[in-house]
Symmetry: C2
Subunit: 206 residues, 2 copies
C-alpha cells in the first residue's frame, strides 16, 4: 500500500514552484494541485503559504551549514583548505539549485525579515570561514595580499552565475544544468576553473 504523504509532496512541489515562479508568483492552489493534495492541507501542516516557505528554507539551511567549519580544522595548507571549500561549496550549490535560487531571491528582495536574518547569518558564517582561510594564507606568506572580500565575491559569484543563469545563455554550449549528467560535467568544470583561478591568483609571484 502506498503512503500518500501529502506533507512531503507539498514541500517538494512548493520548492520547485517557488524556484521557477518565485514566491509571490506561486499560488497555494498551484502547490496543492502539483502536490496532488487539497488546499487546506497547506494550512493543516504548515499554517500558511509562508509556513511552507519557511519549512523549505529551514530544512535546506540545516543541511547546508556546518560542513565548511570542519574543513577549516584540517591540518593542511591554506590553499588545500581553499580547494576543499570550493569543491564542497560548488557541489552543494549545484545539487540544490532550486534552493539556491530561492535563497538568492530572498536575500535580494529582503521581504521576510526573520528569514532574511537567518539566511544572512548562515551566509556570513560561511563567508567568515573562507575569509579566515585566506587571511591565514596571506599572514603566513603563502598567499599574495589581495582584497579578500572581493575575492570571495568572485568565488561565490562565479558559482551563483553558473547555477542561476539559464544555460541557454552560453550559446554554443549544449550543456543544460537541469539535466543531471550535464550538471555533473558542469560541476567538475566549475571546480577545476575556480581552483585554477584562486591558485593562480593567490600564489605569490617568484
Amino acid at each position: 500500500m502506498e503512503k500518500p504523504d501529502k506533507r512531503n509532496s507539498i514541500l517538494t512541489a512548493a520548492e520547485e514552484l517557488f524556484s521557477d515562479l518565485g514566491y509571490e508568483g506561486t499560488s497555494t492552489r498551484q502547490i496543492a494541485k502539483e502536490a496532488g493534495a487539497n488546499m487546506s492541507m497547506i494550512s493543516y501542516y504548515f499554517g500558511s503559504k509562508e509556513g511552507v516557505f519557511l519549512e523549505i528554507m529551514n530544512r535546506r539551511m540545516e543541511n547546508f551549514k556546518a560542513e565548511l567549519t570542519i574543513i577549516d580544522e584540517y591540518q593542511i595548507p591554506p590553499m588545500e583548505k581553499l580547494f576543499k571549500v570550493i569543491e564542497g561549496y560548488t557541489t552543494k550549490i549545484l545539487s540544490n539549485i532550486s534552493f539556491h535560487k530561492m535563497m538568492h531571491r530572498e536575500l535580494s528582495l529582503a521581504q521576510r525579515p526573520e528569514m532574511y536574518c537567518k539566511l544572512k547569518e548562515a551566509m556570513s558564517g560561511n563567508l567568515n570561514v573562507i575569509e579566515k582561510i585566506i587571511h591565514q594564507g596571506i599572514a603566513e606568506g603563502s598567499f599574495r595580499p589581495v582584497d579578500i572580500r572581493m575575492l570571495i565575491a568572485s568565488i561565490m559569484g562565479t558559482i551563483t552565475n553558473v547555477a542561476t543563469m539559464p544555460s541557454k545563455i552560453t550559446e554554443g554550449s549544449i550543456l543544460d544544468i537541469t539535466i543531471p549528467k550535464d550538471r555533473e560535467i558542469l560541476t567538475q568544470r566549475l571546480i577545476i576553473h575556480l581552483t585554477d583561478l584562486v591558485n593562480t591568483y593567490l600564489t605569490p609571484k617568484k
Copy 2:
C-alpha cells in the same frame, strides 16, 4: 512650474518597486500610489502592469547595449580591451542596480518568454564580445589558455554578487551600496579587484 509628468513618475516608481518587491510582489495600486498617479493612468499610458515592466526593461536595455562593441574596435592589446570592458560593465551595472536586479530575476524566473528572449539576446551579445577578446588574446599568445566561458562567469558573477548582495552581509564592511558615495568607492574597488584578477590569471607565466 513643475510638470507632473505622471508617465515618468509611474516608470520611476515601478522600477524601484519591482526591484525591491519583485514583479508579482508589486501591485498596480502600489505603483500608482508611489507615483502619485491614479491607477487608471497605468492602463492609459502602458496598457497594463506588464506594459510598464516591458517599457522599463526596453528603455534600460537600449541604454545598456552597444557600448561594449565599440571597445572591441579599439586598436589596443586584448588585455587593455578587457580592462576597458570590465570598467565599463562594472560602472554601468553598479549605477543601475534596480534594473540589474530586475533583469536577473527575469532571467532566473523566465516567465515572460518575449522579454526573456530579448534579455538573453542582449546578454549573449555582450558575452560574445568578451569571449572574442579573450579568444584573441589566447590566440596571439598574450593570454594563458583558460576556460573562457567560466572566466566570463567569474567576471559577470563577481559584479552581480557585489551589486545584488545586501552589503550588510559583508559584516564589518560599513559600505552600503545604496548610498551614492559608498557605491562609488565600491565600484572603484571592484574594478581594481577584477582587473587585478584577470590580469594575474591571464598573463602567461614566464
